[in-house]
Amino acid sequence: MIKAILVFNNHGKPRLSKFYQYFDESLQQQIIKETFQLVSKRDDNVCNFLEGGSLIGGSDYKLIYRHYATLYFVFCVDSSESELGILDLIQVFVETLDKCFENVCELDLIFHADAVHHILSELVMGGMVLQTNMNDIMARIEEQNKIVKQEAGISAAPARAVSAVKSMNIPQQIKDIKLPDLPQAIKDFKF
């Protein structure tokens, strides 16, 4: 069984947290913090298994993690899971994300946390591995996205327009407008 899946960045900011056993919010944050401290102090060339972590821990549990660029993917699993198998699963998860977001980066996870959750739910369900075949996973995700698009249909057009306007980032564009370099001109002005 998988007890928790955590994704956080190099500074310990959570990007995804999925607990398959209930912890209240403050405890969840503590767990994330503690896990980050355990994982972040390890070199990249040491093994990817970690015992302990007092909060989720227990002797039966292990932290299995992978570090990709700015993100840590940490799975907390018990002894019924194969260690190397979970490492593969993390790889599958990340590759799926990569396919869905096209060259996934941390920003994708930040702005589409819900989508990441939906993807994850096609891999793991209630702490048990559901599907490890990436093609099947992709097919499921695409079918669901299709439904969402259909439902959105025309009614979503105004909302999309609005969000397009919003993301135009007007203040930045105003800033970017090139104005004559007045102060300089003034400076150069000779009395």
Binding site: S17, V46, S80, S82, D114, M125, M128, V129, E151
Partner: protein
């Protein structure tokens, strides 16, 4: 109107924050994130109040994000349910996601969701049902499980593989919350093992693996199906699960193991997937452990495993290295020899830069040590400890050092002076902040069980007491002072300079109360020893100054805030003052009449002698388990008055008067008391009438004799006769020193009576001069002040240097290796206990577990699947009622059993006392002398097993231990069975939920 409203919402909605805006906003407000989020939450609350589902949906999506940042969103539970119930997939998905993140099985809101979830499960759109299942798997409650079990079971036979797969996994969650569902659902689950879709198959394997992990014996009959799957499937993920499952099953069925070896070895040879290879090795190891003999190619398989593991460990991939070591440690338990061949490799891993790997290597070290290399390995570990960063790792190292040295009663320790030195060095490293108590225990253990090393020990401990400084508060290392103080006191006879040690103990220091208490106690011991020396030398002035000195210093302890210290110090002062008074009268007399020779008054001599007697006698270690095996004797109620509370004025005051008059017993009285003690041990299990009679007798006696240590020689009923026999058989005698037979108990016989590693290496031929030199320094440091006898060194002749006294007070029929963890691991909250249900698995060739009558019991369950009702047929109806009754009876029986067990446990707990509470035993002895204080009946009833009758006080000192062992020996016969409760007792599920 309606149009207007919609329009209004439409425009408002356009400029609502969506999730992206929220995230962006949080990122732009890094400095006052909390404030920003709280305004956002206010906005969200506004949005949730609107009727438009899209707005709510947007709000819930934002809440889910905020939840990840650590904010409680359970207040929006009702809105989340609203969004979940939307007919649009988009909203539903957001709702279920939010629910899965913040609902939990105890949420009361879940009551509202039952019908909605049922509707979703039966939806035409498979993704509606899929999303519902995914969400449900995170928050399913017992009620939901009960209500939805049927719907989920129906989904298990859906036409869509996607839903079948999810439903199968979901059933596991249902079982956990609602164990009654397991029996009716199981046939279907088994069916799914042969589902055409590999995903469904894999899910079913997954679920059964989880179930079987906790209650393997119920799933043994499925072995043939799994075997078939294993040999045909190519899905590595599923193979891993199956192979893991076999690992859990083989210990129960050796025949299975034999059958497995071949296909597994084939897989090991053929597979390219490391994960599969590794799991194969693991299971082969499990098989080999379960069939420890009788296999022709047995050693070949082990060899193969160890070889493959070596490849893993040598791999540059740290993950493989880690796993290799992990698997090695499993082999180590049963086949230490094959692992020892790779000692070099494992020792190399000790220096790995990765802590996880070092820890695994440490685990293996346990099996790597021998008499020859122990010293060197320990030296390396000490070196690691000095360098190691992080207290957790240092603690672990310290623990391992002690573990490998102390394993099987110090089997590999050839020189205990070396070991004590190591312990002292560990203390001085100030590393293992957590393990102070452990080291203290080791010091005590070695000093008690290795008589030869005591002289060395007392001197080391004196040094330690002298130099040790109590530093950090978090450090528990000061616990060693407890041991050190006790050792110098108890073995004061071995001290070179007892007076110096006494002064060290008397030095005022800031220490925890319990340690100061030990200090005071051992000051008395040292005092007694010094006073005896004075007596021998007829040194009256010396004795007087000694008394004065100690009295003076004890005042410091007298003022302690710890009540225990105060009391001990006070008693000690009283005792010494009494002696002092005797002496001062005699010095007065001497001043008048100088011709009296010696000058020490006889009463003073007697006092000193009595004091010495208090502390003489050997202490025998008691096995910690001896105590645990002791149930309370029948008829002993610890809440009951042991002695009827005496009338305030009469009994107590009169006895205390007596105390003042004659404090010490004459020799004749002592003898008779000892006799009485000898008889008293017979009074183990008394009937209430006997207890009553005894009580009366004691009360009478008490008024006549303050030292009422003797008891009436009544209380020997015929019914107790056989138990007395057992008591007499308590194995306190020395065990025969047969190396083969009792290898585990006998320790410390060395081939060469060498000192430390230096000598050891010299004897080996000293091929590495540099190392030898370095080691020499160390050993010199160790023995700096101690000149010890090296005359025992004789080359070639195997000769025991230090012998560990392994005589333990142990009940009969109990062996040290008895595992009592079963009780400890018992976890009433483990849902798997309720899942220990015997299942009908019909297609198993071997007639092992099948019981056809069980089948009809399924009819009782409120879940009825079509397949099942067809299966059980008409007979089910007939049997149903019968079964119901049967089950009721069973429930009753179980309940009764449980209650019985619980009350047992309670009683056991009441009876448990600290295993070797030496200090208390001392106090007890002292108290009885000083005040003739009444020893409580608990000890009295169980008093027995005197070894040496001529020492009266000693008998009390031993009382505790004796009582443990004696009643233990009785109980061992009576009640061993009751401790062997199987882990997976099936209990009515309601008690678990």
């Amino acid at each position: 109107m309606a149009l207007k409203k919609v329009k209004g919402n439409f425009f408002e909605r356009m400029f609502d924050k969506n999730l992206t805006d929220l995230v962006r906003g949080i990122r732009n407000n890094k400095d006052n994130e909390a404030k920003y989020i709280s305004t956002c939450i206010e906005e969200i609350k506004q949005e949730l109040r609107q009727d438009n589902i899209s707005v709510k949906c947007n709000a819930v999506a934002k809440l889910t994000y905020i939840q990840m940042l650590g904010y409680d969103i359970s207040w929006a539970g009702f809105n989340i349910i609203e969004v979940m119930s939307s007919s649009r997939f988009t909203c539903k998905r957001i709702g279920y996601l939010a629910a899965s993140q913040c609902f939990h099985p105890d949420s009361e809101l879940l009551m509202l969701t039952t019908n909605m979830i049922r509707k979703d499960l039966n939806s035409q759109n498979q993704y509606d049902a899929g999303v519902a299942l995914s969400g449900l798997s995170c928050f399913i409650s017992p009620d939901l499980s009960r209500d939805l079990a049927n719907d989920i079971m129906t989904l298990m036979s859906s036409t869509k593989p996607y839903l079948r797969m999810k439903a199968v996994l979901m059933m596991y969650k249902v079982f956990l919350r609602y164990p009654e569902a397991l029996r009716p659902a199981f046939p279907k689950l088994k069916e799914k093992l042969e589902d055409p879709d590999p995903g469904v198959q894999s899910a079913a394997v997954n679920v059964i693996c989880e179930l079987a992990r906790k209650n393997p014996k119920n799933y043994l009959p499925l072995a043939p199906i799994f075997f078939k799957l294993m040999t045909t499937s190519t899905n590595n993920w599923m193979l891993i699960k199956i192979i893991k499952l076999f690992g859990a099953l083989t210990p129960l069925e050796p025949r299975l193991g034999k059958k497995l070896i071949e296909p597994l070895t084939n897989l090991i040879h053929s597979t390219s997937a490391m994960s599969l290879l590794y799991e194969c090795i693991n299971t082969v190891i499990a098989v080999l452990i379960s069939i420890s003999s009788g296999m022709p190619n047995h050693s070949a398989s082990i060899q193969l495993c160890v070889q493959k593991l070596r490849i893993l460990i040598e791999d540059s991939d740290q993950n493989l290295k880690y796993l290799g070591l992990l698997a090695m440690s499993k082999i180590l338990k049963t086949h230490p020899k094959s692992v020892q061949a790779h000692k070099d490799l494992i020792l190399a891993c000790l220096d790995d830069k990765d802590e996880s790997i070092r820890l695994r290597a440490l685990d293996l070290l346990y099996g790597m040590v021998s008499k020859k290399n122990l010293m060197e390995i320990v030296k390396r570990l000490l070196g690691h400890m000095e360098r190691a960063e992080g207290s957790a790792y240092r603690d672990e190292l310290l623990y391992k050092v002690i573990e490998i040295c102390a394993q099987s009663s110090y089997l590999y320790v050839t020189n205990f002076e070396w070991y004590l030195t190591v312990l002292v060095e560990l203390i001085q490293l100030e590393a293992g902040s957590r393990h102070g108590r452990l080291i203290a225990e080791q010091l005590l253990d070695v000093a008690i069980r290795v008589p030869v090393v005591r002289q060395f020990a007392v001197n080391e401990m004196t040094n330690l007491l002298d130099t040790f400084t109590v530093s950090a508060q978090s450090n528990s290392m000061y616990e060693v002072l407890y041991a050190a103080a006790w050792i110098v006191g108890e073995f004061a006879g071995e001290l070179e300079d007892a007076e110096k040690t006494l002064n060290i103990l008397l030095r005022p220091r800031l220490l925890p109360g319990h340690i100061q208490g030990v200090y005071v106690q051992n000051v008395i011991k040292l005092f007694a020893r010094l006073a005896t020396t004075c007596l021998e030398l007829q040194d009256l002035p010396g004795l007087v100054t000694l008394c004065d000195h100690v009295l003076d210093k004890l005042q410091h302890f007298n003022g302690s805030s710890d009540i225990e210290v105060q009391e001990r110090a006070n008693s000690a002062c009283m005792l010494i003052e009494m002696l002092r008074n005797q002496l001062s009268t005699s010095t007065d007399a001497m001043a008048m009449d100088t011709t009296t020779e010696g000058g020490i008054p006889p009463l003073a001599i007697e006092i000193v002698q009595e004091m010495t007697l208090l502390f003489t006698g050997e202490l025998i270690p008691v096995a910690p388990k001896a105590q645990r095996k002791v149930p309370l004797p029948d008829g002993l109620d610890l809440d009951e008055w042991i002695n009827a509370p005496p009338p305030e004025d009469a009994a107590s005051s009169s006895s205390s008067e007596h105390d003042k008059d004659e404090l010490f017993v004459s020799a004749a009285q002592a003898g008779s008391a000892a006799d009485g003690g000898g008889k008293r041990r017979q009074s183990l299990e008394l009937t209430p009438e006997q207890l009553e009679r005894q009580r009366m007798a004691r009360l009478i006696e008490q008024s006549n004799n303050p030292h009422y240590l003797k008891s009436t020689p009544t209380a020997s009923g015929a019914s107790n006769a056989d138990q007395y026999d057992n008591i007499d058989d308590i194995p306190i005698t020395e065990l025969p020193l047969d190396m083969e037979g009792v290898a585990a108990l006998r320790v410390g016989i060395t081939k060469r009576s060498d000192k430390y590693l230096q000598e050891q290496q010299a004897a080996q031929g000293g091929k590495d001069g540099k190392k030898k030199h370095k080691k020499g320094k160390k050993s010199k440091k160790a023995k700096n002040k101690v000149a010890y006898n090296s005359s025992s060194e004789s080359e070639g002749e195997p000769k025991p240097l230090h012998i560990v006294n392994t005589t333990l007070d142990m009940p009969e029929g109990v062996s040290m290796s008895d595992s009592e963890d079963k009780d400890g691991k018992y976890d009433p909250n483990d849902p798997h206990r309720a899942l220990d249900i015997e299942l009908d698995i019909t297609d198993f060739e071997a007639p092992a577990v099948r019981s056809s009558s069980k089948k009809s019991a399924a009819g009782k369950e409120n879940l009825k699947t079509p397949a099942e009702s067809a299966g059980s047929g008409s007979t089910a109806k007939k049997d149903r009622k019968k079964d119901k009754d049967k089950d009721k009876d069973k429930d009753k029986e179980r309940k009764a059993k449980r209650e019985h067990r619980e009350s047992k446990r309670e009683r056991k707990e009441a009876a448990v006392q600290p295993a070797i509470d030496l200090i208390d035993a001392d106090t007890l002895a002292m108290a009885s002398v000083i005040g003739g204080i009444i020893i409580d009946m608990g000890a009295e009833v169980a008093t027995k097993a005197h070894k040496k009758k001529h020492k009266k006080e000693k008998s009390q000192r031993k009382e505790k231990k004796a009582s443990e062992s004696a009643s233990a020996s009785v109980s061992a016969i009576v009640s061993i069975g009751e401790y062997e409760q199987p882990l997976g007792i099936s209990t009515p599920s309601k008690e678990i939920l």
